[in-house]
């Protein structure tokens, strides 16, 4: 038991840091700030045929064409109408071929929080119904809980293969 606690705090220590928090539906999420390149307004997105529906398409980011993923759909939430608060968080993720720039559509950006390791807990197991692999941990801020995302896992590796598989 003591060993587990020690382990937990060690992992939590690595997870401490600044997080960009945002809202997706009714849930609050956090993204490691170091992964965030910039936040841009929603702009016209060109749909790419034969890709899964959570891939909204591609946009022109100052001359670079980058894919944009709708995190709502990615997490299986209902599609929502875009509002003036909807925006694209551009993240740099680690991918097999190196660092890849991608856009993620979220409902609303909240703030940047400095979350100490002590306030971060591992995600509880929800059984097979909910996959928790892409959750870095749960950040406790006052009364609320932020789901801290491991964005590399959310968007890369297996998932990108899925994009390809779905489109093949």
């Amino acid at each position: 038991m003591t060993e587990m606690v020690a382990n937990g705090s060690e992992v939590a220590g690595n997870r401490a840091g600044k997080y960009l928090t945002f809202r997706l539906g009714e849930e609050e999420f956090g993204l490691e700030i170091l992964k965030v390149q910039e936040i841009i307004q929603l702009q016209s997105i060109t749909r790419v045929p034969r890709t899964p529906d959570y891939v909204r398409g591609v946009i022109n980011l100052r001359g670079k064409v980058i894919p944009v993923v709708d995190l709502r759909l990615k997490f299986g939430l209902l599609r929502a109408q875009d509002t003036e608060r909807t925006c694209i968080v551009v993240v740099q993720i680690r991918h097999a071929d190196g660092v890849v720039v991608m856009g993620t559509i979220i409902d609303e950006v909240r703030e940047v929080l400095d979350i100490p390791g002590a306030s971060i807990e591992d995600a509880p197991s929800f059984g097979a119904s909910i996959e928790t692999e892409f959750i870095l941990g749960m950040g406790k801020i006052g009364q609320s809980v932020k789901i801290l995302l491991d964005i590399d896992k959310v968007l890369s590796g297996q998932e990108i293969h899925n994009i390809q598989a779905a489109s093949a």
């Binding site: 702009q43 016209s44 060109t46 749909r47 790419v48 045929p49 034969r50 890709t51 529906d53 891939v55 398409g57 591609v58 946009i59 022109n60 100052r62 001359g63 670079k64 064409v65 980058i66 894919p67 993720i93 991918h95 071929d97 190196g98 890849v100 720039v101 991608m102 968007l155 890369s156 990108i160 293969h161 994009i163 390809q164 489109s167 093949a168």
Partner: protein, 843 residues
């Protein structure tokens, strides 16, 4: 004198000592010695610094005892002190974290800690530029300038010291040896260049134990073979002297590298034949001979070593202007080249276990090389001679007059080839003689002091930076067109303003075009690789093949040039292997014994064409067709045009079938060739006539970055269809579109039945026909296999040039889409991959 312990003080004291030493006062050497010794024994100083201090202490000790008071030693000490001062300044406060065990002795073998790593990295990055300067200085020095000599010496000296500071003792020693060898004139330009290459090669690896070590091999690389071994070295038993008992991997390397050098020598010799004063070529031959000699000496290949040595000596005399290379020199040298080749081939055979005979006339050849400069100079041609007819000169060379007359008659009968060529082809004249006469004529035609062409100046820029610039300019163009397209601006009726904007647009376009040209490189190097390939293969297959190249200066996008190499190799190999017949067959077919393969590159109609033409036996139409029918790729009852049959060579199933390659002699991996070329957005076409020859024509886009595209709309999305793949566009009249069992649609296009594909339908998730696509425009495209298909879109918007962008990492390959393009309104449109669309449609 009290021994200071804090860093600042030590530095000051060192500086003081240095000053006084610079003034020539040596009486302080003893105090300096004790200071340095203290420094060595102090805890917490980096190992590198300790080594340097120790080295300096030894020198100072020598000076103090009066034994080594030479000026050189003194200046060495001063330089070392400067360095020590500098590293004291750079090093973090030593003494603050004393070493756990200060008594621990030399740290030479310990792996570098992070601080030293940092020093190493800084050293390596600085050296990269300094090595370039070093090279310039070496070459400058070769010309005999004092500046160059001084720079080289100073650089070596600094380098030695820096290696010392960095704890790289072995390197420091190596540089020291080089310095000494240089002083004693045992080492010349070649050695210095090799040192430079060696260091450059190792810079990145200095942090590893292997990189830190200087092996005997490295030393050999720099110093070459010990000079005492030749020319009169113990020539061991000549019969076995080419045998080699050592590590065969060295031999394999030598065979490859030696081949390159021989190739270079030959190429430069041919240049020298035309212009004997071409210093660059002289140096190249010299250098290659020298390297060959060194390599051969290392591997104890005495024959090659001796031959290379005599050739090198001859070239050395030419280099020092002791002799002017005449035809007779070049002849002997060319013979030597052949002998080299023979020897190296022999090695290759030995490695593979074959038998081989040494060249019989080697000794005589070496003698002749040594005597070559005493050969009577070629009789200078009197001016009026050069204006004489080719035929006369040839007869003088020993060509039968009847043969010349015969050739002249052929010319009158309409043969457009030059006289020399006719004679060579007919076997009446020796190519070397003809070459000599031609070069004499060329010389005579030139003004005596005709300067060589001025060399274009270049700057090397990292490709990445170039791409950034090109991207940025592309962005600027888009930004500009967004301004231009702004409706508010459209409303303004102001001629001067419009003129200004038009001017800016024009300038920007020019800049964009310029930026595209920055990525263009000549195809020369790729072609040159082929000449080696043809030679090797021809030799292996025992065929005589001449390779001619045209348009090597044709420029292509760098990426295209890099990627066209493999397909070219494949096709050239096919031509040599299967195209050109064996000599007896050629004679039987009434062709010249020597086969001919031509590589051509040229620009035409906005594309680049590369042709590989051979005068071999051509494609065997029947055999290909038979095989295609057998494998179900073609129908027995259908008639095919020649072009269609030739295209079958590229079919995957067909190419790998060995039976076909045996019969038709074509198609090993041709499908891969085709795929590679298509990946470059090019196309390949075959023209072939049985018994006469074949030619493969590759068409490539000028650049990969820009395409001409047709912007179309389909279900609200814009797509770009590459204009290159569009055959025609039609708006079908009522009744021309027929449905097939209610699903498929076809269009009767001037008698051709073309299948229709509705873009909206294959690209949308729903498959239902919502009726909105009943109308539309048909874009008839052709895929790589020549299959025609009609893509139905809602409307054609415009034609424009677009810059192709990758549609983002992490997106992977999207079928049907090759990339995206940023449109003038800043949004992204997708570019269709026509081949893939056809494929999707047929699924």
């Amino acid at each position: 004198m009290p021994i200071p312990t804090d860093k600042q003080k030590i530095r000051q004291d060192l500086e003081e000592f240095r000053r006084s030493l610079e003034k020539g006062e040596k009486n302080l050497a003893n105090s300096l010695l004790s200071l340095l010794e203290t420094l060595c024994e102090m805890g917490g100083i980096p190992g590198a610094m300790r080594t340097l201090a120790r080295r300096l202490a030894a020198t100072a000790g020598g000076i103090a005892s009066g034994a080594e008071g030479s000026k050189k030693e003194l200046s060495k000490l001063i330089q070392g002190l400067t360095k020590l001062e500098r590293s004291l300044e750079d090093s973090p406060m030593f003494g603050d974290h004393p070493e756990p065990n200060p008594a621990v002795a030399p740290r030479e073998s310990t792996p570098p800690d992070s601080e030293e790593m940092d020093l190493l990295e800084r050293f390596a990055s600085r050296q990269r530029t300094e090595l370039e300067e070093f090279e310039v200085a070496i070459l400058e020095r070769e010309k005999g300038t004092a500046v160059g000599d001084e720079f080289v010496k100073r650089y070596l000296h600094t380098l030695k010291g820096e290696f010392g500071v960095l704890d790289l003792g072995e390197w420091s020693n190596l540089v020291h040896e080089v310095e000494t060898a240089l002083d004693e004139k045992r080492l010349g330009t070649e050695g210095l260049l090799r040192l430079k290459d060696l260091i450059g090669d190792r810079l990145g690896r200095l942090n590893s134990a292997r990189g830190r070590a200087v092996s005997e091999e490295d030393r050999q690389t720099v110093f070459g073979a010990p000079p005492s071994q030749f020319p009169s070295g113990p020539a061991s038993d000549p019969a076995t002297s080419t045998n080699f008992a050592g590590d065969p991997s060295f031999l394999v390397d030598f065979i490859a590298e030696g081949g390159d050098h021989i190739h270079n020598i030959e190429k430069s010799l041919l240049k020298l034949e035309i212009n004997p004063n071409d210093e660059e070529s002289i140096n190249l031959v010299f250098r290659s001979c020298h390297t060959l000699k060194g390599l051969a000496a290392f591997l104890e290949l005495r024959d090659i070593q001796r031959l290379a040595h005599s050739a090198e000596s001859l070239m050395d005399r030419a280099r020092n202007h002791a002799i002017v290379l005449g035809g007779q020199h070049v002849d002997v040298l060319l013979e030597a080249t052949d002998a080299f080749r023979h020897l190296v081939d022999g090695l290759e055979k030995q490695v593979t276990g074959g038998s081989w005979e040494p060249p019989p006339n080697l000794e005589a050849l070496i003698d002749r090389l040594c005597d070559a400069d005493y050969l009577p100079p070629m009789p200078a041609l009197a001016p009026e001679k050069s204006s004489r007819k080719m035929g006369e000169l040839l007869v003088e060379k020993g060509v039968a007059p009847e043969a010349v007359e015969r050739a002249l008659r052929r010319q009158q009968e309409g043969d457009v080839r030059p006289l020399g060529e006719i004679l060579i082809r007919a076997g009446d004249a020796n190519p070397r003689d003809v070459g000599q006469i031609l070069s004499q004529k060329a010389q005579a035609a030139k003004s005596p002091d005709g300067k060589s062409l001025s060399v274009e100046e270049t700057i090397r820029v990292p490709v990445q930076r170039l791409d950034l610039l090109i991207d940025a300019i592309g962005e600027a163009v888009i930004a500009q067109s967004m301004v231009w397209a702004d409706p508010r601006l459209q409303e303004v009726r102001d001629l001067p303003l419009e003129n200004k904007i038009a001017q800016a647009t024009l300038m920007l376009r020019q800049i964009q075009e310029l930026s595209m040209s920055l990525r263009m490189v000549g195809i020369r190097s790729t072609f040159q690789k082929m000449s080696r390939l043809v030679r090797d293969l021809a030799r292996k297959l025992d065929k005589q093949i001449e390779l001619c190249m045209e348009g090597e200066d044709t420029e292509l996008d760098k990426t295209v040039v890099e990627n066209i190499g493999d397909p070219l190799v494949h096709m050239v190999r096919n031509s040599v292997d299967h195209g050109i017949e064996l000599a007896p067959d050629r004679i039987a077919a009434g062709k010249p014994v020597q086969g001919r393969i031509c590589l051509r590159a040229y620009h035409k109609a906005g594309s680049v064409f590369i042709e590989i033409e051979d005068d071999g036996k051509g494609l065997d139409r029947e055999a290909i067709l038979r095989k295609a029918i057998a494998s179900g790729k073609a129908k027995a009852d259908q008639s095919y045009s020649d072009a269609e049959v030739h295209q079958m060579v590229f079919l995957p199933g067909l190419s790998t079938a060995k039976a076909v390659t045996d019969v038709s002699g074509r198609g090993v991996g041709m499908d891969v060739v085709k795929k590679n070329i298509e990946a470059l957005r090019g196309a390949v076409e075959i023209r072939s006539e049985k018994g006469v020859g074949s030619s493969f024509v590759i068409r490539l886009p000028l650049t990969l970055a820009i395409i001409q595209g047709m912007v179309v709309r389909s279900r609200g999305e814009r797509y770009i269809v590459p204009t290159l793949s569009i055959l025609t566009t039609v708006r079908p009249e009522e009744g021309r579109v027929h449905t097939v069992v209610g699903k498929g649609e076809v269009l009767n296009l001037r008698g051709d039945i073309v299948r229709l594909v509705r873009l909206g339908r294959i690209f949308s998730d729903s498959t239902e026909n919502d009726g909105s696509d009943a109308q539309g425009v048909v874009i008839v495209v052709e895929d790589a296999f020549g299959r025609k298909i009609g893509i139905v879109v809602d409307e054609i918007l415009e034609q424009q040039q677009v810059v192709i962008k990758n549609i983002g990492g992490g997106m992977g390959q999207v079928p049907g889409i090759t990339g995206g393009a940023v449109m003038s309104d800043g949004s992204v449109s997708l570019i269709l991959d026509v081949g893939a669309v056809v494929k999707i449609a047929s699924e």
